[in-house]
């Protein structure tokens, strides 16, 4: 979603994005002319008149589970986005929690009383970087 019109989105998709991704980006390109929605979400920069790089993960109940906001010069990490979605899906399905550095396939934690004070035996700092 950007402050561009749906017409601009069409041309960008046809002229450039479809050359990066076969068939173009496969999701709706939303128009937020005037920045009304961006203002609601706290990502509209009034001085520049644009929405900055805000990214929200919204669960099936419509609840915000994660948000990230970057200033315009730096792009996002899609792998990290996917990792977070999988983590939130996993905790929603199982009630387990994901320690720092978790990715699919790595150990999760069950938040039970017997783990209190013993996380150090299960999780090591180097696991945050693996």
């Amino acid at each position: 979603m950007s402050v561009d019109s749906k017409f601009s989105h069409k041309i960008w998709q046809e002229e450039e994005l479809s050359k990066m991704v076969s068939g173009g980006v496969p999701y709706p390109m939303l128009s937020d002319q005037g920045g009304r929605i961006g203002t609601t979400y706290g990502v509209f920069d009034e001085d520049m008149g644009v929405n900055v790089r805000g990214r929200f993960i919204i669960d099936p109940d419509g609840v915000i589970q994660a948000m990230e906001v970057l200033s315009p010069p730096v792009g996002r990490n899609v792998s990290e986005l996917i990792r977070q979605i999988r983590a939130f899906q996993h905790t929603r399905d199982t009630g387990e929690v994901m320690p720092s550095g978790w990715r699919p396939g790595k150990p999760t934690l069950k938040p039970t009383p017997d783990v209190v004070g013993h996380v150090w035996e299960i999780w090591k700092p180097e696991m945050a970087f693996e």
Partner: protein, 47 residues
């Protein structure tokens, strides 16, 4: 309405371009699905 994790995402409806046509997208129509809502500064920018 304030934005906060654990709280409802504010609903909106707006115009969109999708699959070669113009349409309208309403956030609450996606209840039951995971949604990634991405804002970016502008079409044809570099990053």
């Amino acid at each position: 309405m304030s934005i906060m994790i654990g709280k409802q995402a504010p609903d909106f409806e707006t115009e969109a371009y999708f699959e070669g046509g113009f349409t309208k997208v309403k956030l609450s129509d996606y209840k039951g699905k995971w949604v990634v809502l991405c804002f970016y500064p502008g079409d044809f920018t570099f990053v």
